[in-house]
Symmetry: C2
DNA sequence: CCCTAAATGAAAAGGCTTTTCAATAAGAGA
DNA sequence: TCTCTTATTGAAAAGCCTTTTCATTTAGGG
């Protein structure tokens, strides 16, 4: 969770132009409390830039994902959409009810993965972990 | 990894008919060393039953998934296809190179998930974990 | 064997994503 | 500022992949 200027700076540092449509998409992702599908990003993004097109949403997400600044969030029941993320190895905790998402930076799977390596003979190179739960607000209802 | 008769028995126990197309799909999944896409299951399945149709592949996978006997396997780079699985909570280790898959039955994330709950305020209800690595054969190359 | 409900596959419909392409706009350099 | 170049844009078309529809077939209990 950064602010617009930080994100914009990282964007430009890669040599990408910061156009109106792209600004609208960044603002939309920054304002979102949960992962958004491309169609949802389009809809919300048009409040910032009315002529925004869906193709640009896809193209911008592709760049953000390559930069490690956004990531698809999906659980067993499918893809929940895209959320901003910190570059590097992180995980997401998603609320089952309202889909609010929190990013987890550390991960302590070392011992477990060691045992997996031992049991299977595989050399472990990476993993994908998504956690589901109930956010504090939804627990009250 | 069960045998055909065990799988067939579980299938019938749910009251489903065991048709030729379905037999072909089960045999295909049993013979697969890696997750297969619906199209791949169709292609391989037609060696067992020539008239197999793609729609039946989708419908059969849907039932298998609901029974917990098959599961979509996907990593960060997308869905790798469907693999047979043990009902209940398990994980998959997928080879980066040849996609060979091994199922992991135990999982020791308890402490880590407790710390996530504490840090985020979420009540944790589940998780989705896929592990990638290099299988013993691919390590030699 | 029959009989019936479940299952099947072709074709159509539906969705989502990517490609194409002519028009536009960012922003480096003058 | 003003130009100029090239990246970027959005509409439309194309391309998947998945689901629905429906007339026909088949499994398997009786
Ligand atoms: Mn991790
Ligand atoms: Mn687990
Ligand atoms: Zn919630
Ligand atoms: Zn391998």
């Amino acid at each position: 969770m950064t602010d617009f200027d930080t994100l914009a700076g990282q964007w430009r540092a890669e040599g990408h132009k910061l156009t109106q449509p792209r600004r609208a998409i960044l603002k939309t992702l920054l304002a979102a409390a949960r992962p958004l599908s491309p169609a949802e990003i389009l809809e919300r993004g048009q409040t910032f830039y009315a002529d925004l097109g869906l193709v640009t949403v896809y193209r911008t997400l592709e760049i953000l994902e390559a930069m490690g600044l956004a990531r698809p969030v999906h659980l067993a029941d499918g893809c929940h959409g895209y959320a901003l993320s910190t570059p590097g190895h992180t995980h997401h905790v998603v609320c089952d009810r309202c889909h609010a998402v929190v990013e987890i930076v550390g991960c302590a799977l070392g011992d477990f993965l060691d045992s997996v390596a031992e049991r299977t003979g595989y050399t472990i190179t990476g993993h994908w972990l998504e956690i589901s739960g109930l956010c504090p607000e939804c627990q009250q209802k």
